[in-house]
Amino acid sequence: MEQKIIIDMKDIVKRYYIGKPNELEVLHGVSLKVYEGEFVAIVGPSGSGKSTLMNVIGALDLPTSGQYYLDGLDMFDAREDDLSAIRNRKIGFVFQTYNLIARTTALKNVELPMLYAGMGRRERSERAKELLRLVEMDDRMSHKPDELSGGQKQRVAIARAMANDPAIILADEPTGALDSGTGRLIMDIFHRLNKEQGKTIVLITHSPELAEETQRIMTLHDGLIISERKGGGRVAAG
């Protein structure tokens, strides 16, 4: 069966400080394809450019050259507002540092992407509650981020990433700041979203075991993908 390519990158180069004496090329021409519904992992040593690649995939940052189609859209053609709309509707971000807005409640944080999507107040709050229930955080929805533990914050962040039912979830070391037990819990949520809702997930991780659980593992080294292999897939959890 022919699967749809959702992330299609060719020869992506990312340079910083262009034209300055300290010009730095972080990605040296990365090509990668991710299919719809896939759960892939990107691994590699620190400083190899994983986060940079992730930000380019998520339209948070623009590549210097190359070709990039996201769900069929040419990202080099997109204007700023198009990129905002792509981040809003097609992508859900999960960061190592959670990146919740401190002053507002868990519920409001989850509502935020829907607010920017122009969804009505009632519908927004209904869906946010439903998503918080999905990550088992519905009893803490009126708490502010600093009243939550790391694992709880990350669950709220995942709920928020799911707000506009995006095609892709991009997770940059989502378990990096958590203990292994809590990390396990977060990974279980990702597996569930991948299986039950068919979400495409790109996971950056330093943990070989967690990477091994995914369907495909790409290794980034010094700005290039040097190897790619199939993962073991989900090991039945106790």
Partner: protein, 430 residues
């Protein structure tokens, strides 16, 4: 994005930094507060002046002899000429408005005028009755004069038209004077008495026909203080003593049926008397109506409020710059938040709108506090000036609008700076 969401986000941000927000608002509070205060005072003073005037007859016109601003003929046969100074003169008998002019005037304006008020003072003197004495100011009035006095009689009767016409030496004295002179509160006892007033070296006799109630509202002295009260007699009687056939001033009461507005009538009267006075080199007749006085008062208040508004404008400018500064600080503190919002799909314009609304909400709150302070302060000041406080609704509405405009103007630059942040730079900002 919805306006309501932006406003509640703005309020949350302001609440998160209460002290800083308050200090930022201070310039706006002072600026708006002082404008509203002065406008409340101005509005109150003109409103109560206008209502006083309506009670006193807004359509009355006063006509009086005043010294010319510039003397008509250079060089004075008296030789009294000082370079650069205008000699202050008092009008002499020959400068007064003469009986014949008034008669001519009444003939000419019979349709427009209901009556005129004429009075003349004889001076202030003492009445002595055995061991008691009372000080009185003697004024003679015509029919019109007594109509305007609204005296409340406690005993006797008013001075009748016949007595006025005949220039009889009858008078009305105050209850206070009766108590002083005769040690009695039975005012009827004073009726028919002849009082002798000593003014200078001269003696004047008047027969008391009525006792009026003194308006006690202006009472400032103790009961024992010798208070000067008015003694009213007929104009003709005073004229007989002063041997004068002219008046320094009089008041015209416009007829309610007159088909002409007060100001028009006033300028017609002015022209009428100019004919008599164009040959008088030192004096002229000036006319004023309460309406023209109101106009002048309004003009004066306008000048004062323009001056205050300039100062307030400077306060608002400084306040606005303060708002801009604090918005820049706030945006750099919240860079990460801006990055998060962008990562979640906020467009540049929604970020811009968020911060503009935050600046505007800040300014509007400042403006409202300023309005409250201004109305309160202005009302206190107006009350101190014996005017009933009337806040100007128009200036309150304008102030709210103006605060919004300041927020928009000074919030735009910081908001635009926030909107144009690169998402990833903002998100990874330390």
């Amino acid at each position: 994005m919805l306006l309501g969401e932006n406003i509640s986000m703005a309020l949350a941000a302001i609440r998160a930094n209460k002290m800083r927000s308050f200090l930022t608002m201070l310039g706006i509070i002072i600026g708006i507060g002082s404008v509203i205060a002065i406008q409340t005072v101005g509005n109150s003073v003109t409103t109560s002046f206008a209502s006083t005037m309506t009670n006193m007859g807004a359509s009355n016109i006063s006509v009086g002899v005043t010294q010319r601003e510039t003397e008509k003929v250079k060089g004075d046969e008296s030789g009294l000429e000082f370079e650069g100074y205008r000699i202050i003169r008092t009008p002499e008998e020959s400068d007064f408005i003469k009986d014949n002019m008034i008669a001519d005037f009444l003939n000419n304006f019979s349709d427009e005028i209901e009556y005129i008020i004429l009075s003349e003072s004889l001076g202030t003197g003492k009445i002595t009755e055995i061991k008691n004495s009372a000080t009185v100011a003697v004024t003679g009035g015509d029919e019109g004069y007594f109509k305007g006095q609204n005296l409340t009689l406690l005993a006797g009767r008013e001075i009748g038209d016949k007595a006025i016409k005949g220039g009889k030496a009858v008078c009305l004295i105050s209850d206070y004077a009766v108590r002083k002179l005769y040690n009695t509160e039975d005012y009827d006892k004073a009726i028919g008495k002849v009082v002798e007033v000593v003014i200078g070296q001269k003696f004047y006799d008047f027969t008391v026909v009525g006792v009026y109630k003194l308006d006690d509202s202006g009472m400032l002295f103790g009961a024992n203080a010798d208070r000067q009260t008015d003694l009213y007699t007929t104009l003709g009687c005073v004229k007989k003593h002063t041997h004068s056939d002219g008046y320094p001033s009089f008041t015209v009461v416009k007829s309610p049926d007159a088909q002409i507005d007060t100001n028009e009538l006033r300028s017609m009267i002015q022209i009428f008397f100019d004919r008599y006075y164009h040959t008088n080199r030192n004096f002229e007749v000036t006319t004023s109506s309460f309406e023209s006085m109101l106009e002048e008062l309004t003009k004066m208040m306008g000048t004062i409020s323009t001056a205050i508004s300039i100062i307030a404008g400077i306060a608002l400018l400084v306040g606005g710059i303060g708002v801009m500064n604090i918005m820049l600080v706030s945006i750099s503190e919240r860079t990460r938040e801006i990055g998060i919002r962008k990562a979640l799909g906020a467009t540049n314009s929604s970020i811009r709108l968020q911060f503009i609304i935050e600046a505007m909400v800040l300014c509007i709150i400042g403006g409202i506090i300023g309005i409250i302070i201004g109305v309160t302060g202005g009302s206190i000041a107006a009350n101190a000036m014996d005017a009933e406080a009337h806040a100007s609704i128009a200036s309150i509405v304008e102030s709210v609008g103006f605060s919004m405009a300041i927020g928009l103007f000074f919030g735009y630059y910081p908001a635009n700076k926030a909107a144009k942040m690169n998402p990833i730079d903002a998100l990874t900002y330390e």
